[in-house]
Structures are given as structure tokens and as C-alpha cells.
């Protein structure tokens, strides 16, 4: 159980955050420079907050009011640095065993051997870090942090030093390793997908503040704001104007159309008419209406609109289409209004490659408003 509140002033930047987590793995996500790494460094005792309090599993690491500031070595944690910070002048075995003190040399060697085996680094003990691949280096860094049996593991962008295909493969492995070792972990990443896959709780940072802290499922479905949605990489984040708001529905005006959306379920959001409002529509929930089945049924097809496909990208299993509405006026997202995702099968059956003009509908539940 981790509780943290801290203020840190740096040139051109102020970090002011507070959050708590009961979950095992916490992911801090957000754009570069948002303060995630600074938070991690304060957690580790490598940086001192100007004010605040940090408590991990009942142990007070830092308390500016009480004058408590445990040095890093008293905090019993493991830290995996961005770029790994492996000691270039030591072998893999010496790197992994660097933090081990006490016990006989044999015991330490045994422990090192154990960690090396568990992380699949067998055979590399005598190598130097420079001779290893990126993935191997990452595991050595992890091994070094875990060998000391820390109370909590901190990871700073553990995968960003790797190239994209490797990153995906190792993400799963890293997640497995963290869970197998069973240690609480705090990890920092700028990649939302990574945060979502690895973290039980996701804490979103922007410009030195926490803009949302939630268990991951909640975050996925209920981003707290437009900023969070953007950080999550959600597509079709749009702006409209409120026509009428009630506890479960919001009617809004967008691109000359009247849309009906569900209201934010976790809060009573009742903006007055004519207020600007942000909302998003998931690309995979936009339905293209088949042309061979007569006129669309209003019960079935809500939020009807029509437009022309102006761009498309083939992703193998899906197609991403960009559609410009027939409505007059400039498109909402550059030269298109909506991004739509269709499975390959649908693309082929509907012959979208040839037929570019479509009517579409969006269920009101698929239009989610973003408060403030």
C-alpha cells in the first residue's frame, strides 16, 4: 500500500501530486516531462521533494513536516533505470549481485545464480553489458533490482530503450515476471497501452499534476477529461455544444447535427445549454449501414449521419477509414470528421474500396462525454 504526496519545484516546472494505491502494480503514464520520473526518483530517495509525505507499506520514507528522509539504501527498493544503467566495468553476474551484502560469498553466488536462472540469463554470467542485446540488458537490470529482495520495485520506462517489435514481445514477459516475483511495483511509461497492460492501477500525469488515478478498467471506459483521453490515445475526441442535459442523456450539437449521448455515469454532469462539451466516439463502434436492406430503422440506428470516405489505411486484420460528413463546413479533425474501424471481412463484403459514400449510425452509448 503506497501513499504519496509531494511538491517539487524545478526550473520551469512544478510537480504537485498526491495519490494512493492498494494495487500491486501501479503505472504512471503521461507525456514526457509530466513529472513521472521525478516522482519515481523522489520515491527512491534520489531526489528530495520540497514538501510532502511518502509512505510505503506503513514505512515512512519521507515526511517534510516531521523531518524524515530515509536515504535510498534504507528504503529497501529495487530501481530499474531508463537505459538500465548497468555497470559497464562489471560482468552480468557482478551486476546482478552488486546490491547483495552480508552472507558468505557462496550464499551471494547462489542467490545471483538463482536470479540469473529465473530470468533466463543462464550462460551470460561472464559477459559484459555491452555484449548483450537490449532485451538481455533489460533482464539484467531487472535481475539486479530484484536480487536484493526489495519491498517495492520501481521501473522507469523499462521498455522504451527497445525497438517496437521487441517492445511488444517483452511487454508480456515483463508483466509476467513482475507478477511472478510478487513484488509491489511502480512503473513509469509514456505509452498508454503499456501502462494498461502492465498496471493494475493507472495514474495519468500531465504537466506536473495527476489528472486521473483509477483502476485500469475504469480508466479505459471513463477517461476523466479530454486531456486524459488524448493521453490514452483515444481517437475521435470531438467538441460540440450542449443542447439539453439530463442525468442519463445529453443532447448536443456537432457539425450541424443533433447527437444524443449517454451522460457520464460516475458523476452528475448537467451542463447548461450552449456550454461547449467534449466527447469521444470509439472508431470500432461506428456502424456503416448496409445498402441492401432498405431505409435505416430509427430504433436501431441512432445518430444517423452520412459522408464520404476520404482516406483509409490497411492494418491487416482491420481497416481504418477516415470519413468526411456531407454536412457543410470544415471537417472536425483536419480533413476528415470521423475515424472508423471496420474488420477486414466487413471491408471486403461491403466493397468499401469501390463504394465510398456511406450512411452511418452510432449508438448513444458509444458517444461518451468528457467532463470539463
Amino acid at each position: 500500500m503506497l501513499a504519496l504526496s509531494l511538491v517539487k519545484r524545478l526550473p520551469g516546472f512544478q510537480l504537485d501530486v498526491a495519490w494512493q494505491a492498494e494495487e500491486k502494480v501501479v503505472a504512471l503514464v503521461g507525456p514526457s516531462g509530466a513529472g513521472k520520473t521525478v516522482t519515481l526518483q523522489c520515491l527512491a530517495g534520489l531526489m528530495r521533494p520540497d514538501q510532502g509525505r511518502i509512505v510505503v507499506d506503513g514505512r515512512v520514507f519521507f515526511d517534510s513536516d516531521a523531518g524524515v528522509d530515509l536515504p535510498p539504501r534504507a528504503r529497501r527498493l529495487g530501481y530499474v533505470f531508463q537505459g538500465y544503467a548497468l555497470f559497464p566495468h562489471l560482468t552480468v553476474a557482478d551486476n546482478v549481485g552488486f546490491g547483495l551484502h552480508g552472507g558468505s560469498r557462496r550464499e551471494r553466488a547462489r542467490r545471483v545464480g538463482e536470479v540469473i536462472e529465473r530470468l533466463g540469463l543462464g550462460g551470460l554470467e561472464r559477459r559484459r553489458p555491452q555484449e548483450l542485446s537490449g532485451g538481455q540488458q533489460q533482464r539484467v537490470a531487472l535481475g539486479r533490482a530484484l536480487a536484493v529482495d526489495p519491498d517495492v520495485v520501481l521501473l522507469d520506462e523499462p521498455l522504451s530503450a527497445l525497438d517496437a517489435p521487441l517492445r511488444h514481445a517483452l511487454r508480456e514477459e515483463l508483466g509476467r515476471t513482475i507478477r511472478e516475483w510478487g513484488k509491489p511495483a511502480v512503473l513509469v511509461t509514456h505509452d498508454f497501452a503499456e501502462a494498461y497492460r502492465l498496471g493494475d492501477r493507472v495514474i495519468v500525469y500531465e504537466a506536473g499534476r495527476v489528472i486521473q488515478s483509477a483502476p485500469r478498467s475504469e480508466l479505459l471506459w471513463q477517461p476523466a477529461s479530454e486531456s486524459v483521453a488524448r493521453i490514452m490515445g483515444i481517437r475521435n475526441v470531438l467538441r460540440g455544444t450542449v443542447i439539453k442535459a439530463s442525468p442519463d442523456r445529453i443532447q448536443l450539437r456537432w457539425r450541424g447535427l443533433t447527437l444524443e449521448a449517454v451522460n457520464s455515469p460516475t458523476r452528475a454532469y448537467l451542463p447548461p445549454p450552449e456550454t461547449p462539451i467534449a466527447f469521444f466516439i470509439r472508431p470500432e463502434y461506428v456502424r456503416l449501414i448496409r445498402k441492401d436492406r432498405g431505409a435505416p430503422d430509427p430504433e436501431h440506428h441512432m445518430n444517423l449521419m452520412s459522408g464520404r470516405i476520404v482516406d483509409e489505411v490497411d492494418f491487416g486484420t482491420t481497416w481504418a477509414l477516415r470519413l468526411q460528413l456531407d454536412e457543410p463546413g470544415p471537417p472536425a479533425q483536419g480533413d476528415y470528421d470521423l475515424e472508423i474501424e471496420v474488420p477486414r471481412l466487413v471491408y471486403e463484403i461491403l466493397e468499401i474500396g469501390q463504394d465510398r459514400h456511406w450512411q452511418l449510425s452510432i449508438h448513444r452509448g458509444s458517444i461518451q462525454v468528457l467532463p470539463g
Partner: protein, 217 residues
């Protein structure tokens, strides 16, 4: 030919280099890694011996350690002779060359990635342990370079030595002082021979050190 100046200079240079390393490396580390008030003062003090003319430096040093100087009187009371002995030659050589050790080592320490030191901190090491097991092993070449420079400087130390130790043949006349003396007395053969020995010593050292530096890593 009298080889005393050669022996004396070698011994003086070895001891002086050892002193500059023992004192200079920690100072270099402090300058590389710590911010503190008075830091500028320390930086200035370090390079001062490089700027001041050696005889001037020697004069001030003599005022300090001579029979009437503050340090000199204390040493005399303790029965220790410093000025006008080979020990003063060591002092002169060390003062003249410590800046080289400090600057070279400081650059070496600054080049060590601080995250490695941070990693060591998270792994439970004390600051001293971090210095010995991380910082120094990664900067040893710079420290070695500083040491070599200091040794060469110590072998060639002239002006300061002349003042605080004197050019007393058979007692404090180091190799550079001996060469100078022979040149002034127009004993060119001896002067050339001594100069050749000086060159040979340094060449041997540089060769040996570069072999050493290529090993490992």
C-alpha cells in the same frame, strides 16, 4: 659522472606523485560531485600554482616553511627539517603538479554517468563504496593520465625547488637543477648526458603506462 641528481629526482617524483594522487583525487571528486559555498575559491586555489611564476611560488612557500615561517617554526620545534632538504623538493614538486592530477581526475569523474552512481545508491552502497566500486574504476584512465603528467612535472620541477630546497649539489640538486647548473658552467657534455637520461626516464614511463592502459576492458 655523478648520478645523484637522477636518483634524487626519481625518488622525489615518485613520492610527490603519490602525495598528489592521495590528496588530489578526493579533491577532484569533491569538485566533480559536490556544490558548496567557497567552491570557486577552491577551484582558484587549485590552478594558482600553474599560473604563478615558480620562483615567486617558491618564495612564498619559503616564507611559510623557512626557519622564520609559521609552519617552519612548528616543524623545527618538532625536530623536523623541511626547507633545504630533499623533503622540500618533494613539497615543491607536489605543489607544482597537484593541479594536473586534480584537473585530469575531475574531468574523469565528471564523465562518469551519474545514473550509475544513483543505481549503486539504490542498491544499498555507501558514498565511499560507490566511489571505490563505481566512480573510480570508470575513471581510472583519467586519474592515471593525471598521475603521469604529475610525475613528469615533478621530474622537471625547477623554480619552486630552487627556492625552497636550494640547488645544493649532493643534497637537493635535482636533475633539472643539475642540468641547469652544468649548462651555466658550460659543461655541455654533462648537461647533455643528464638531459638524455631525463628523456629516457620519461619515455620509459610513458611507454609503460600506455601498455598498462591498453590492458583490460
Amino acid at each position: 659522472m655523478e648520478l645523484f641528481p637522477v636518483r634524487l629526482s626519481l625518488q622525489v617524483a615518485i613520492i610527490a606523485t603519490a602525495i598528489t594522487l592521495v590528496l588530489g583525487v578526493p579533491i577532484a571528486w569533491v569538485l566533480a560531485r559536490r556544490r558548496f559555498p567557497g567552491r570557486q575559491v577552491l577551484e582558484t586555489l587549485v590552478v594558482l600554482p600553474l599560473i604563478l611564476p615558480p620562483t615567486v611560488l617558491g618564495y612564498y612557500l619559503l616564507l611559510l616553511i623557512g626557519r622564520r615561517g609559521p609552519v617552519g617554526t612548528v616543524l623545527a620545534a618538532a625536530g623536523i627539517e623541511l626547507a633545504f632538504t630533499w623533503r622540500a623538493a618533494v613539497l615543491a614538486a607536489a605543489v607544482g603538479s597537484i593541479a594536473l592530477v586534480i584537473k585530469a581526475s575531475q574531468a574523469g569523474f565528471e564523465a562518469v554517468d551519474q545514473r550509475l552512481e544513483q543505481a549503486a545508491r539504490t542498491l544499498g552502497r555507501s558514498e565511499l563504496s560507490i566511489f571505490w566500486s563505481v566512480t573510480l574504476p570508470l575513471a581510472w584512465r583519467a586519474v592515471l593520465a593525471g598521475g603521469v603528467l604529475a610525475f613528469c612535472r615533478a621530474m622537471g620541477e625547477f623554480g619552486i625547488t630552487l627556492m625552497v630546497a636550494g640547488s645544493i649539489p649532493g643534497r637537493t640538486q635535482t636533475l633539472p637543477l643539475a642540468i641547469y647548473d652544468r649548462v651555466q658552467a658550460n659543461q655541455m657534455n654533462e648537461a647533455n648526458a643528464l638531459a638524455l637520461i631525463a628523456v629516457a626516464v620519461v619515455a620509459l614511463l610513458v611507454f609503460g603506462v600506455s601498455r598498462l592502459a591498453r590492458l583490460r576492458y
